[in-house]
Symmetry: none
Subunit: 367 residues, 2 copies
Amino acid sequence: MRDGMNSRILLDAAKSCILASSPVFRRQQFLIRCVGGSTDQRDMQALRSLEVDSQSIIRAITPALDPTRHKGQAGNIAVIGGCREYTGAPYFSAISALKIGADLSHVFCTTDAAPVIKSYSPELIVHPVLEESYNVGEEHKSSIASKVLAEVDKWLERFDCLVVGPGLGRDPFLLDCVSEIMRHARQSNIPIVIDGDGLFLVTNNLELVSGYALAVLTPNVNEYKRLVQKVLSSEVNDIDAPQQLLSLAKQIGGVTILRKGNSDLISDGDTVKSVSVYGSPRRCGGQGDILSGSVAVFLSWARQHILAADSNSNIRFKNPTVLGCIAGSAILRKAASLAFSNKKRSTVTGDIIECLGKSLEDISPAS
Amino acid sequence: MRDGMNSRILLDAAKSCILASSPVFRRQQFLIRCVGGSTDQRDMQALRSLEVDSQSIIRAITPALDPTRHKGQAGNIAVIGGCREYTGAPYFSAISALKIGADLSHVFCTTDAAPVIKSYSPELIVHPVLEESYNVGEEHKSSIASKVLAEVDKWLERFDCLVVGPGLGRDPFLLDCVSEIMRHARQSNIPIVIDGDGLFLVTNNLELVSGYALAVLTPNVNEYKRLVQKVLSSEVNDIDAPQQLLSLAKQIGGVTILRKGNSDLISDGDTVKSVSVYGSPRRCGGQGDILSGSVAVFLSWARQHILAADSNSNIRFKNPTVLGCIAGSAILRKAASLAFSNKKRSTVTGDIIECLGKSLEDISPAS
């Protein structure tokens, strides 16, 4: 696959030294300084040293569009989420996966949420299989849980990655079913990106992901805080954020954590990377869903790339979950920036999704 | 109808010899060579000799837009598909029929799927008539099956073509009802294009189509494999693909089969044709649905054309199902290529559908 790619990576790696003095890089650094909150000069120095060349990574892992490939080979993603209350989040996540370039994108949601999510777009395959407590008598819970599992199991092996959490809600019966789905996915070595209410579930049931190298957690400020409190029994330490993130990922047995913030920090307990490409100051809800769907696709691509690449591949770190997080973070930021330059304060999540294609094309042209 | 058309066909047929040395033709041949997978030089030679001048065929069968014609004369298509799980596929197929130029496009789906499919577009006429087992008590199955049949029968005679299968699902009760619908359509000599789960049904019940010259099967790689195993009791033979396809179509009594692939191969058991116009390397799910809807319209047009044309008509092969397949295949490829040149990796099925009109207009201008 992509024989000419490795030499390009080498070149890009060399360029990244030069990049450090480029106007773009300087602008990023300035912006980080301006918006960095409590980050002081010393922290900036530390963060800067963690910054990765996300564009080279995106170019390396994005598969060539080869006409001999057939449907599904560029990615088959499933989002587990969508309940009576939330329907937008799973849609945003699943449609983002398609717009990045996955071939197929599924949603497994509650029976109530399905018609609505289906109606957002005929491009998604939406399975009305989950149930919430209010819909299920106590005496039927066990049989319905088995049915839910059986229904998801029929599909599970086909998926390259699950996204668990967008618009999942917190209904205890539903979360029990989703825990079982996660256990099955883990047995089948299917990567899992966990966001939103999936993080609520996982923070309270760490064994679901602990020691699973193909798990990715994408917490925002509050979700990160709860995770740190639960796992490290301490408060969030902004002074030495990278070290704390590293400890956290290591403590959960080498899962990958993408800590969302002014700079996104990514660690698998072994290494810490930072993505600070300038995005958008607009904080409309739903951007985390774009991120989870994008990370799922890039993670699948990175995994394919690593499996197919020979031992001389020039990607310096070989963890597909870390590569997926870096690529997803960078693409979301670029798309958000493009959307904002056009729509300004009125930018909504759908506008950013419409910019995903151009953002990827600018970095890694399809042909 | 279209008196000036026949002379144009003659001209186009003459041109096709010149075309063989044109840059477009050479590029197609180059691409086939590049992407042919297991196809060697000898096979390429064979495939090349099967390539048809699809543009001339499209121009020949596309009816003139005559202001004296009234609603329905340019095609009234019905898609049988859409269940609790799938709603996008029947929508894509039915809306593609309209975008090619049919006057009316219907969908017959389950009661659950109908509101969703209706919500995708007010352009379609969606009938909530089918039922799946989970919704029907054992004791009511017979009466409900009769009701479904009666409901479809009310409309059947009006349709120029049925598309059976997009998003049909595999519920046994539903498939039993659809088998009956196919039998009725066959009695009325209504052409049937069969794709997706319709192929699952037909592969297991070959008598539904066997010997019916107005049946078209449009299998993808996996569906073709199952069909070959079932009918020829052998494995797919890529070395002599045209001969195997010919045998398969003959064995099912002269149905037309469009085998989807890098080159689409089409046979009615009598002749084999190939369409290799370059499409798109994007393999997003749903492109097969565009094809089935497009083939349905072109097939109807080809049938009208052949019925109306005098015996001197210069279309060399007179089977409307083969002509419909050639035209549908070529238009989908052209539309996919146009959409991809604009949207690249983020191309989704809806983007391709939006290019159907321009693709047809480029080949056969409306005025």
